[in-house]
Structure formats: C-alpha cells, structure tokens
C-alpha cells in the first residue's frame, strides 16, 4: 500500500510536470492582472516565434519622450488560427495593444488585444491570463 502511494505520487509528479511544460511562462508569475495597460504607438520589431511571440513598440508619453515596450503574445500557431500573418507586422506601423503590465520589470506587458491601424482587432493572449473576455471578441 505504502509503495502504491509512493508510485502514484511519483507518477503524478512526472505527468504534472509534463503537462504544465506546455503552458510556458505562467501569467501570474510575471504579470499583474491588477495593472491593465492600453498602449498606443508604433511597431519597432515583431518576433514571430515559438513558444510565444514578442511585439516591440514605441509608446509616446504625454511629456513627449518615447517609452520602449515589450509585449509577450501568442505563438505563431495561435496567431495564425486567429487570422494574423507574420506579414501583418511591418516596422513603423501604428498599433494599439491592450494587456497587463509586468509585476516587477518596467515597460513589459502580457498582450491581450491587438488593434491594427485598419481597425481590425485580434486576441493575442496566452494561456493563464485573467478571464477578462478579451478572447471572446
């Protein structure tokens, strides 16, 4: 009996570790659901990569200075399913990103909604984000 319990625990541990490995960066470890941000600016670079993509954008502040933001977003597979293409991202284009800021690091956010200059809106969230309805639009 004791042995059975130990084996079951080890098995659960291995399976659990395997399963969660696919979730990548857990949202709550790095981002704060209490810090929603809406960023309006221009795209400086887009890394269309697995496991998660990265949007780099310049956001003009009220005082005229430019803040460089890094936004974690869905990987290529999820982006494609939601209707986005790598070629939709051109350096210099205007965009609006809604998301949640990092817990400690400055100017980093977890993206939820992307609005392109033509008005088209896309869900760009990753697994584990808050249940804010961004994925239902």
């Amino acid at each position: 009996m004791k042995t059975k319990i130990i084996v079951a625990l080890l098995t659960a541990g291995v399976l659990g570790a395997g399963q969660s490995a696919l979730a990548h960066h857990p949202f709550a470890a790095e981002y704060d659901a209490e810090k929603p941000v809406t960023l309006t600016g221009t795209l400086s670079k887009m890394e269309w990569v697995n496991p998660h993509s990265w949007i780099y954008m310049d956001v003009k502040q009220p005082d005229g200075t430019v803040q460089k933001w890094t936004i974690e977003s869905s990987g290529p597979g999820a982006m494609t399913r939601r209707g986005l293409k790598k070629t939709d991202f051109v350096a210099g284009m205007s965009l609006v990103v809604k998301g949640y800021a990092g817990r400690t690091k400055p100017a980093i956010a977890n993206g939820r909604t992307l609005v392109l200059a033509d008005g088209r809106s896309f869900y760009i969230g990753t697994v584990g984000g808050p249940n804010d309805g961004a994925d239902k639009q």
């Binding site: 042995t3 130990i6 084996v7 080890l10 098995t11 541990g13 291995v14 399976l15 570790a17 395997g18 969660s20 490995a21 696919l22 979730a23 990548h24 960066h25 857990p26 470890a29 790095e30 269309w48 990569v49 697995n50 496991p51 990987g75 290529p76 597979g77 494609t80 790598k86």
Partner: protein, 166 residues
Amino acid sequence: MPSILPALEWLEALAWATAIRESNWGYPIMETAHVASIVAFAGVVMVMDLRLVGLAFAQTPLTRIQRPLFPWQMAGFALSGVTGLLLFVVDPLRYYGNVFFRVKLVLLALAGFNALGFHLTIFRKVGRWDEDPLAPTTARLAGAVSLLFWSAIIVSGRLIASNWFN
C-alpha cells in the same frame, strides 16, 4: 577563452532553425515529443530505481525488471535527447542565458555519471545479489540518487519556461 556566442548566433540564424522557430506546428509537435519521451524515459527508469532502493517488486530479481526495460529506456532517452537538442538549436541564445537550463545540464551530467558508475561497478556483479529483496548499499544509493536527479531534471526543465532571472 573564445566566446561561444558567435557559434550560437550562427545556429540561431540557420534557415531550418528559423523555420521551426516560426512554425505553426513543427515546434509544438517537437516540444510535445520532448515531454512525452521524457515521461516514458523517467517512468521506466523510476520503476528500476524503486526496485533498487527496495520500495517496489522486492521479490522480483532486478535483472528481470532491468533487462526488458533497458531498450525502452534508451529509446526514450534517444528521442528526448534529439528533440531536446533541436529545441536548443531553435533558440540557442535564450537557453544559453537561462539559469534553469544550465542547472538542468549539470544535473544531466551528474545523473549520467551516476548511471555509468552503477553499470561499471556494482551492476557488473548483479549475479551475486540479483534475487536479494534488499540490494547492496551502493546499488540502493545509486537508485536513490537516480530518483532524486531525474526528478530534479524534470523540475528544472519545467522551470526553463519561467524566465524570472532573464
């Protein structure tokens, strides 16, 4: 000492590495295969380790467990090794700078030395203790160390995805 960084940058820029990095399906399939093969490998290794430390199948001779499982163990290791190497090549600079990736490599080396030491020493004389419900202390120790290292490798592998220190 020359830096390894130019070599990693060269790897990252390879056309096929870039194609996998930007793929819809290639990367998720590779990643799933990596995890699945680790589960298979670790599961088989742990069955043998539990027999070694005396927590399971005590009445079964060790070689009756080890011999049929060994090919499966090596198959799991080969697949996880190949997929692991590919995952590294796809994003070498990020892994290089990731503390959990470095910890995992060190633990892999230690687990490898433990397995090698076991096979080259006490396991050579397995005929003498094969049917003993309680294996010799060295063998039990190797089993316990193996359980510990492989568990720690899985945990550190999982933590690679959490880039707290980057």
